[in-house]
Amino acid sequence: MRETTYFTLAALQHGPLHGYAIIQRVSELSGGRVRLATGTLYTALERLTTAGHIRVASEEIVNGRARRSYQLTPHGQTALHEQATVYAEAARIVTRPVVRPA
C-alpha cells in the first residue's frame, strides 16, 4: 500500500469525510508531510472505490454543487490495519532496545 493511500484511509477511520476534509486530515495526520493535490485525491478515491476500500457515505448539495462524503468499508478497515501492523513491525526493528548477548 502506498503512503498516500495509507493516510487517505487513516483519515477516514473515525468517520466519513468529504474531499477537502480528507486533504486537511491527511495533512494533519502526516504532520504536513503528505499534501494531497485535489487531482491526486480524486484519482486515489476512484481507485479505492473500485478496489472496495471506501464507498460514498452521503451526498449533499452545497452552493449548487454535489459534495459527497466517503467512508471506509470493512475491507478498507482491514487493509488499513494490516498496513499499520506492517509499519509498526518495521518501526519496531529499529526502535526496540537491542539486547546483545554478553
Binding site: 500500500m1 502506498r2 493511500t5 468529504h18 474531499g19 477537502y20 486533504i23 493535490a37 485535489t38 487531482g39 491526486t40 485525491l41 480524486y42 484519482t43 486515489a44 476512484e46 481507485r47 479505492l48 473500485t50 478496489a51 476500500h53 452545497v62 452552493n63 454543487r65 454535489a66 459534495r67 459527497r68
Partner: protein, 281 residues
C-alpha cells in the same frame, strides 16, 4: 463566477463527464487558493488518467494483444497480396502458393482481432493460435522470414492466451481496430517498403515516434507503453532470429544491432511497470 472559479472550472472540464466534476470543483474552491503549478499538473494528469480509464479491474495486456494482432494482420495483408486466383481455379495444384497461407492467416487474425475486441476471449485465442502456422508458412515461403513482422503472429498468440488467463470482460470497437489496418501496414515494421516505396522510411520514423509516445504516456496509462513494447519485441526477436540464422555477420555490429533493437522494448517495459506501480493503491 469569479476569476479563480473560472480557471478551476476550465481545468475540471478536462475530466470525462462520468467523473464527479462538480465535486472536484467544490473541493478546489474550498481551498480558496488560485491554481498552483502543482495543482494544475495534478488535475491535468488526473483528467488524462480518468479519460484513459486504466484501473486495477482492467487487463494490462489486452491492448498489447490487440496491437500485435493488428500488426500480424497487417503482415498477412502483404503476404496474401500476390494471390493468384486464376491459378487456383484453373490448375489442380494452383492452391499451393504462399499467398493462400497468407490469406488463411489473414482471415484467422481478423477473426481473432474482432473476437478480442468484442470480448470473446476463447474464440480469439483459438483463432490467434491457428493463425500462427499459416502466417509463418506464408512468410517463410515468400522468402521474407527474416523480415520485420515475422514474430508478430507467435507473439500475438501468446498475448491473447495471456489475456485468457484472467479475462476481465472488456470490450472495444472492432471496426475501429479494422479501420487502423491501412495505417498499420504503412506505419508498423511490416516490410511494406518492398511494396510501397516510402514505406521503409515511414516505418523507421514511426517506430521512433511510437516508442517516445509510449514512454511519455506511461505516466497516464501503462497499457500503451506495454503495447508498443510488444511491437518492439517483435522487431527484436526478428533481429535475434536473423543473427541465429547467420544472416547478420560481423562481431561488433551484431552486438550493436541487438542492443539497438533491445533497448526500446526494455525501456518501454520498465516504463509500463513503473506506470502500473503508480496505479496501485
Amino acid at each position: 463566477m469569479n476569476h479563480i472559479e473560472r480557471r478551476y472550472a476550465r481545468l475540471v472540464r478536462l475530466y470525462p463527464a462520468r467523473s464527479p466534476r462538480d465535486e472536484i470543483l467544490d473541493t478546489l474552491l474550498q481551498s480558496g487558493q488560485p491554481p498552483t503549478l502543482r495543482e494544475t499538473s495534478a488535475l491535468v494528469l488526473g483528467a488524462l488518467r480518468a479519460r484513459a480509464g486504466y484501473a486495477l479491474d482492467r487487463s494490462p495486456i489486452r491492448l498489447a494483444a490487440l496491437a500485435v494482432l493488428l500488426y500480424a494482420t497487417a503482415v498477412d495483408v502483404l503476404t496474401s497480396l500476390p494471390l493468384d486466383v486464376p491459378a487456383i481455379v484453373g490448375t489442380p495444384l494452383g492452391i499451393a502458393q504462399y499467398a493462400v497461407a497468407g490469406l488463411a492467416a489473414l482471415v484467422l487474425h481478423v477473426t481473432a482481432l474482432f473476437a478480442l475486441a468484442r470480448g470473446a476471449y476463447r474464440l480469439s485465442a483459438v483463432a490467434a493460435v491457428l493463425a500462427v502456422g499459416p502466417a509463418l508458412v506464408a512468410l517463410e515461403r515468400s522468402g521474407s522470414y527474416l523480415n520485420d513482422g515475422f514474430w508478430a503472429a507467435p507473439v500475438a498468440a501468446l498475448l491473447v492466451l495471456a489475456v485468457n488467463l484472467s479475462p476481465r470482460g472488456e470490450r472495444s470497437n472492432p471496426y475501429l481496430w479494422t479501420a487502423l489496418l491501412p495505417f498499420a501496414i504503412v506505419i508498423l515494421p511490416t516490410g511494406s517498403g518492398t511494396v510501397l516505396t516510402p514505406g521503409l522510411f515511414i516505418e523507421q520514423q514511426a517506430m521512433i515516434v511510437l516508442v517516445v509516445a509510449g514512454l511519455l504516456w506511461s505516466a497516464v496509462d501503462p497499457r500503451v507503453p506495454l503495447a508498443v513494447a510488444a511491437l518492439a519485441l517483435c522487431d527484436f526477436l526478428t533481429h535475434l532470429t536473423a543473427v541465429a540464422a547467420g544472416a547478420v555477420v560481423g562481431g561488433g555490429s551484431v552486438a550493436y544491432g541487438l542492443a539497438v533493437t533491445a533497448v526500446p522494448w526494455l525501456l518501454l517495459l520498465a516504463a509500463a511497470t513503473a506506470g502500473h506501480r503508480r496505479s496501485l493503491i
